[in-house]
Structure formats: C-alpha cells, structure tokens
Point group: C2
Chain length 154, copies 2
DNA sequence: GAAGATTGACGGTTCAATCTTT
DNA sequence: AAAGATTGAACCGTCAATCTTC
C-alpha cells in the first residue's frame, strides 16, 4: 500500500506545528507572538488600513479571534480602530507609528530566519513543494464545501 | 530578489492552519478534536501504553498540555492512567476498549479524507514536497538549538 | 539535584449567540 | 433579513513554578 500522500500531509501538519512553536520563541524577545506579527505584517502593507472582516479573511481565522487579537494589540498601542463614517458597523484598523516601527524592526529578522530554512535547497524542488502545499490548501477548501458551508476565502 | 523559499514556508503554515481548522470540523461529528485523535492514534499503535513524557515528545507539545488533553479524554473514558510500580513518578497511559473502538471507527474516515487531498498528484512531486517539509522541520530544530536549548525530539 | 506530572496565568482558536447598523 | 463586531464557553498550546518521587 502507498502511504506517501498520507505521510506528506501529516508531515505538513508536523512541520507547521514545530514552525509555529519555534516562531513564538523567535518573536519572544520582541514581546510579540506569531499571530500578532501576522497582523502587523498585513497592516504594514496596507497603510490605508482595513476592516476586521478583511483581516479575518486574509488571516483565515474566525472574526471573533480578530477581535481578541486586536484588543491585545490596541492595549499595547500598536494598532488603532477608527470608526468609518460611511458604515458605522465597521472599524478601519491601522498601524500606529509605533506599530509600524516595531514591524520594520522585526521584519528583517523574521525574513532571515525563514529564508535560512531552505537556503541550501534547489529552486526546482522548493517550487514543487510550494505547488503541492497550494494543492492541499485548495483541496481542503473543497472538503469543507462538501461537508459544511464555509465563508469564501479572499 | 527571490521570494520563493520564504513563500514556501509561509504557505506551509497557511496550509497546515487550514488543515487543522477543517480537520476539527471533520472530527466534530465524532465528538473529538484533532489533538485528541492524535493521542488516540498513538496509543492505538502502542497497546502496551506509554508515559505522558513519551506522548509529549511524540506529539511535539508541552507536557503540561498532555496533562490537560488526557484529563478530558479520561473524563470521557477513552484512556486510563495506570500507576507504574517500578517508578511512581510516571503514569502508563493506555486506550480503554471504548477508546480503541472509537479510534478504529474514525481512522478510515480520516485516512480517506487525507488521501483524497493528493490523489491526483504525481508520486515524484509528493516525494519532493515530503522531503522539503522534512528539511524545514530539521532546520527549525537547528534554529532552536542556536537560540534557546530545547528538549531532544524522540 | 533531576525527572515526571501538575497548576495557574496567559495567548490563540472556534463556535454559538447577541448587538448594532445597514 | 444580512453584515460587521463582540461576548461567553470550551479547547489547544506555552511557560514558569511547584510537588512528588527518583
């Protein structure tokens, strides 16, 4: 019997689990977590800000989770929630200047750490791995369509 | 500049995040979570049982987490903790017969769902992806050695 | 003192229910 | 009624501190 596809998917889970765990330690000296860095990274690339719903879609997490994440980050004055006049249901979430500074300080460290992981591998192989991971992602999305309705990913 | 290795690692995180999220939904009808299934799966393959420390190493999670996981599973009577006469610090954790039944009921469903994700892909490419994921895993372990000491993985 | 297990504090995540605004 | 945001309950996970046993 052929176990390879099964093992490959399980390995993706294992690797990402470890990556998440160690990233947390990497970010620790900066007083931030991986989940919070992801928010910083998204907002850093969108100076005009975005709604919590957009963040929820891009981060692929529940919107209630975004609320809690932003609460903590707002407390530390890294982000602000601005009311939107045109639609009073939504907040426009932006980086503060100190949030932006933090992002620019951490970004190169994280980037270097991540790049070092595959620095010795062949481009061709990394491309294939990337492709397979993308396929798994899209197939898992099919999964959920067949089982339970889920919001459309952005 | 070459973003590919960076994007590949980030994609591994994204894919696994989604996989984790949807697996939770897949397991839901069985009244179990992915983390709990992983315990079931390990114990199912080790009828003689194992210590919580061993579980912690194999699952790559903190030992305090194992305590909480097992508390919930013990409450549902899927596992038991037996005291070990030779060393009264450790518990020998085993599946109950109802835990074993549950595992055997869920296992084929999970396996089929996972296998379906890569059913159309070429063996050669899946092999490459598997290899790259393994490399990332081992490199992340190097990471932690350089930054902070970490327990040796089993 | 070291090892296995536990506890408390905290952050991340989902889900169901709710509130306000559209 | 539908959409954006929030809340409360529950689970997953880490870390630091503690307890018992070795």
């Amino acid at each position: 019997m052929n176990n390879l596809p099964y093992e490959c998917v399980i390995q993706a889970l294992r690797t990402a689990n470890l990556l998440w765990r160690e990233s947390r330690r990497l970010f620790r000296p900066f007083g931030i977590t991986e989940a919070q860095y992801n928010v910083l990274h998204l907002l850093g690339q969108h100076p005009e800000g975005m709604s919590q719903k957009e963040l929820s879609n891009l981060l692929v997490v529940d919107s209630s989770n975004v609320t809690l994440l932003l609460n903590r980050m707002e407390k530390r004055k890294w982000i602000t929630r601005r009311t939107v006049l045109q639609d009073r249901r939504v907040y426009n979430v932006c980086l503060t200047s100190s949030g932006n500074t933090l992002w620019e300080k951490i970004r190169p460290h994280y980037r270097d750490a991540v790049l070092s992981l595959l620095s010795k591998e062949q481009t061709k192989e990394v491309e294939t791995a990337y492709k397979i991971l993308k396929i798994i992602e899209s197939q898992v999305n099919q999964w959920s369509i067949n089982h339970q309705p889920l919001e459309v990913m952005s």
